[in-house]
C-alpha cells in the first residue's frame, strides 16, 4: 500500500440491530486515521458490490446473528469469482471457537472476538500484527 493513500475499510454486519461493536470499531478505526465506510446490514453479494464500488482495502464483517462458517466462505467465494484479490476480509463478533480453524483454513487471519482491543484491529489493518484467537478450550 502506498503510504500517502489512506487505508479504506468497509464495515458491514450480518444483521441489523445490536450494533455496539460495529460502531465502536468504526469509530476506533476512524480515530486512528483510517477511512471507514459504514455499510450496515448486507448479504455477501451486496458486500462484494459495495466493496468494489467503494474501492476498499478491507471488508470488516461483523457477525453476530449469522453463521460465520457459512457467510464468510460465501463472501470469499464471491470475491474469488470476480477475481478480486486486493481486498482482505476481517471478521469480528460472535465467532464460536470451533469455527476459528475453518475461517483460518480459507485464509482469514483477522478474526476479532469479544475482548479485542480497538488498537489490535488498528494494528492489524495497518499490517503489523496478526491477532491470536485459539480459544478452543474452557480455561479458568
Amino acid at each position: 500500500m502506498e503510504s500517502n493513500k489512506k487505508i479504506r475499510v468497509l464495515l458491514v454486519s450480518d444483521s441489523p440491530g445490536h450494533a455496539t461493536g460495529y460502531y465502536v470499531v468504526g469509530k476506533g478505526l476512524r480515530e486512528a486515521g483510517i477511512e471507514v465506510i459504514l455499510g450496515g446490514f448486507q448479504i455477501p453479494p451486496q458486500i462484494v458490490k459495495s466493496a468494489v464500488q467503494e474501492d476498499v482495502d478491507f471488508i470488516g464483517y461483523r457477525i453476530m446473528d449469522g453463521a460465520p462458517e457459512i457467510l464468510v466462505p460465501r463472501l470469499v467465494e464471491l470475491l474469488k469469482e470476480r477475481s478480486i484479490r486486493d481486498i482482505q476480509i476481517i471478521v469480528g463478533g460472535i465467532i464460536p471457537p470451533p469455527i476459528v480453524p475453518t475461517l483460518k483454513g480459507i485464509g482469514i487471519e483477522g478474526i476479532f472476538t469479544p475482548g479485542t482491543k480497538i488498537s489490535d484491529i488498528v494494528d492489524y489493518v495497518r499490517g503489523s500484527v496478526t491477532p491470536q484467537v485459539d480459544r478452543l478450550k474452557f480455561r479458568l
Binding site: D14, S15, P16, G17, H18, T20, G21, Y23, V24, K27, G28, G40, F41, I43, P45, M64, D65, G66, A67, E69, I70, L71, R74, I94, P96, P97, P98, T113, P114, G115, K117, I118, S119, Q132, D134, R135, L136, K137, F138, R139, L140
Partner: protein
C-alpha cells in the same frame, strides 16, 4: 427523618471518623482516592444518616405497595409471588424452539419469552436468510409456525412475552390463543412495544405501536401493551441515570401517544411495563431500580394526573447485561450473571432472564441455558434474599444513591422533554453509540476492570486451568431448508380465493389507516406469510424505514 440533635451528634461522630481515616491513610502513606460508580457518581467511603437527612420517609421511601413505590410495587413482594423466570429462547425453526421451551418449563421455567419472531421483513426462502435463519432467534413465516411454537404449551397457564413488536406475530399469537380457546380477557403477557414518533396527525394513524396499545387497552386487560426497552441501549454502555431517563421519556411518550386516541390515562398506564438491564455496579443497580420506580410513579401521577394507583406502578423485566460477559475464561460469566441477577432481585424485578455464560461464544446450549435457570432458582430458593421486601432499603448508601440517580435522571429527562420527539429519540440512539465507544476505550486503557480481559489474563499456552473442550451449539443449515419446505407446504394448503380476499382486506385496512390489529388477525388466520404482509404494506406505504426500530420489522 432524624431529629436535629441526633444529626448534630452524628456530625460530631463523622468528624472523629474522618480524623481516624486520615490517621490510617497517613500510616499507609496514601491519599484518599476518588471513587466513582460505574455511572460516574462520586462514592464516599461510608454513608450516614446525614446523607439522607432531607429524605421524608413517607413521601420519598414509603412502604412497599404504597406511593411512590420506592420499595416495590406490591405490599408482599416475593413472599406471595416469585419473580417470573423467563429465559429468552429462540433457535432454529419453531420445532427446535418449542422443544427447548418445553424442556425449560420442565426444569422450572415459569414464563415464555421468545426472540427472533418476525424480525425480518421477508420469507424464509429469500436469499437474505441464508446463513442466518434460526441463529439469532426462531424463524416465523406463518401462523402454522406459531402453532408449532405453542404446541403442548397451554396459553391460559403461562404469561407470554413477545420480544420485539412485530404486528403479524402479535396477531398470530392472538389467533393461536383463540384456537386454544383462551378468552382474550384471561390472556396474560407482554409485547415489547414502544411508540416511536411517526404516523399521521395527532392520533398517529398508521403507527402500529399505537394500534397495539389501543387494541390491548380495549381487548386484552391482562396484556402489557408496552414494554419500554432501555435494556439494550444500557447494554451499549450508557449510564444508569440515562437508562432511567430514557425509559421514563419513552414510557411517557408512549403513554401520551395512546392517550391522544381518546383513551384515559388510567386505561393506558397500568399496562405499560419496562425492560431494564442489570449492570456490573451492584449497589448502583439496586438503587437504579428503586429510583426509576419512584420517578415513574411521580411522573404518571403528577404529570399525567393518573388517579388509579395501578397506573403509578413501574413493573419491569430484567435481562442481565451481556456486554460485560467475556469470551475469555467463559465460566467466569456464571459468577458475573449471578451478581447481576441478585441486583435485579434486590431491586424488585417482576421477571428475569439471566444471560448464559457461553453467549460471547455462541447460542446457549441446553446445558448453559439450564444453568441460567438454576442461577435464578438458587437465588430464589436458597439465598434467603427473597424473604424480605427491599432488604437494602434504608441503607444510607442505597437511599443516597437512589436520590442521586433520580435527580440526575430528572435533569436528563428535562433535556429530552425540551426536544422535538424525533430529535429526542435520535439523541438517545446517538448517546448509545458514543457511550459504547467510551466504554471500550476505558476497557482498553485498563480504567474499567474486566477480569480475564485486562486483569488476570491467561493466554493460550500459558499455565491455566484447562476445563476441557468447549461444548458449543453449532448452526444447522438444515433449519433453513426445513423452514422453506414448511412454508411451501402451508402455501399449497391454502385456499387461493381466501388468500386473495385476505390480502385485499389487509390492503384496505392499511389504506384506510384504521387500527391494524383486527385486520391483521384475519390476515394471519388466512396463513399469509410475514413476507407477503410486508409486501402488502409496502404497496400502500412504500418501502418501510426501519432505522428507528433497529432495522427490524416492528410496529408496522
Amino acid at each position: 427523618m432524624f431529629k436535629e440533635e441526633v444529626l448534630k451528634e452524628i456530625e460530631q461522630l463523622n468528624k472523629e471518623y474522618e480524623a481516624n481515616v486520615k490517621r490510617v491513610l497517613k500510616k499507609f502513606s496514601t491519599e484518599e482516592k476518588e471513587v466513582k460508580t460505574l455511572s460516574g457518581l462520586s462514592l464516599k467511603p461510608i454513608y450516614t444518616p446525614l446523607d439522607i437527612k432531607d429524605n421524608n420517609y413517607v413521601e420519598d421511601i414509603s412502604s412497599p405497595g404504597l406511593y411512590p413505590f420506592t420499595r416495590g410495587v406490591t405490599p408482599t413482594g416475593y413472599r406471595t409471588k416469585e419473580w417470573t423466570i423467563r429465559q429468552v429462547v429462540g433457535l432454529g425453526t419453531a420445532e427446535e424452539t418449542n422443544e427447548r421451551l418445553k424442556y425449560l418449563f420442565k426444569q422450572g421455567q415459569t414464563g415464555f419469552s421468545v426472540c427472533g419472531m418476525g424480525y425480518q421483513p421477508y420469507e424464509s426462502s429469500d436469499e437474505r436468510s441464508f446463513g442466518i435463519l434460526g441463529k439469532g432467534g426462531v424463524w416465523i413465516d406463518t401462523l402454522a409456525d406459531i402453532e408449532t411454537l405453542f404446541d403442548g404449551i397451554d396459553m391460559s397457564k403461562i404469561s407470554i412475552n413477545q420480544i420485539g413488536f412485530s404486528i403479524p406475530v402479535f396477531a398470530m399469537i392472538l389467533a393461536e390463543a383463540e384456537r386454544q380457546g383462551v378468552d382474550f380477557k384471561n390472556l396474560s403477557g407482554t409485547i415489547q412495544n414502544c411508540v416511536f414518533p411517526f404516523g399521521e396527525g395527532p392520533q398517529m394513524r398508521g403507527n402500529g405501536s399505537v394500534d397495539i396499545s389501543e387494541y390491548c387497552t380495549k381487548n386484552l386487560p391482562r396484556w402489557n401493551h408496552a414494554s419500554i426497552s432501555v435494556r439494550n441501549i444500557r447494554d451499549e454502555g450508557i449510564s444508569a441515570p440515562q437508562e432511567i431517563a430514557f425509559g421514563v421519556y419513552m414510557g411517557s411518550f408512549t403513554l401520551q401517544s395512546v392517550m391522544a386516541r381518546n383513551i384515559d390515562v388510567d386505561e393506558v398506564a397500568p399496562r405499560i411495563s419496562f425492560f431494564l438491564s442489570s449492570e456490573n455496579d451492584f449497589l448502583e443497580e439496586v438503587a437504579k431500580f428503586r429510583a426509576m420506580r419512584r420517578l415513574w410513579a411521580r411522573t404518571v401521577k403528577e404529570r399525567f394526573n393518573a388517579r388509579d394507583p395501578r397506573s403509578w406502578l413501574m413493573r419491569f423485566h430484567t435481562q442481565t447485561t451481556a456486554i460485560n460477559l467475556t469470551a475469555q475464561q467463559p465460566l467466569n460469566n456464571v459468577i458475573r450473571s449471578t451478581i447481576h441477577a441478585l441486583a435485579a432481585v434486590l431491586g424488585g424485578a417482576q421477571s428475569m432472564s439471566v444471560n448464559s455464560f457461553d453467549e460471547a461464544l455462541a447460542i446457549p446450549t441446553r446445558a448453559s441455558a439450564t444453568l441460567s435457570l438454576r442461577t435464578q432458582q438458587i437465588i430464589g430458593h436458597e439465598s434467603g434474599v427473597a424473604n424480605v421486601i427491599d432488604p437494602l432499603g434504608g441503607s444510607y448508601c442505597i437511599e443516597s444513591l437512589t436520590n442521586q440517580l433520580e435527580q440526575k435522571a430528572v435533569e436528563t429527562l428535562k433535556e429530552l422533554e425540551d426536544m422535538q420527539p424525533q430529535k429526542a429519540y435520535q439523541y438517545i440512539v446517538d448517546q448509545g453509540k458514543e457511550a459504547g465507544y467510551l466504554r471500550q476505550k476505558a476497557i482498553d486503557n485498563n480504567e474499567r476492570a474486566m477480569v480475564g480481559v485486562n486483569r488476570f489474563i491467561v493466554r493460550e499456552g500459558e499455565e491455566g486451568i484447562d476445563l476441557g473442550n468447549t461444548d458449543i451449539l453449532g448452526y444447522d443449515p438444515v433449519w433453513r431448508d426445513k423452514q422453506i419446505e414448511r412454508l411451501n407446504r402451508v402455501k399449497k394448503k391454502r385456499d387461493p380465493g381466501k388468500t386473495e380476499k385476505a390480502k385485499r382486506l389487509l390492503e384496505d385496512a392499511y389504506r384506510n389507516r384504521i387500527n391494524i390489529i383486527e385486520p391483521m388477525i384475519e390476515a394471519v388466520k388466512a396463513y399469509l406469510s410475514i413476507g407477503e404482509i410486508v409486501e402488502i404494506r409496502e404497496k400502500v406505504y412504500g418501502p418501510a424505514n426501519l432505522g428507528h426500530v433497529w432495522g427490524c420489522y416492528f410496529g408496522m
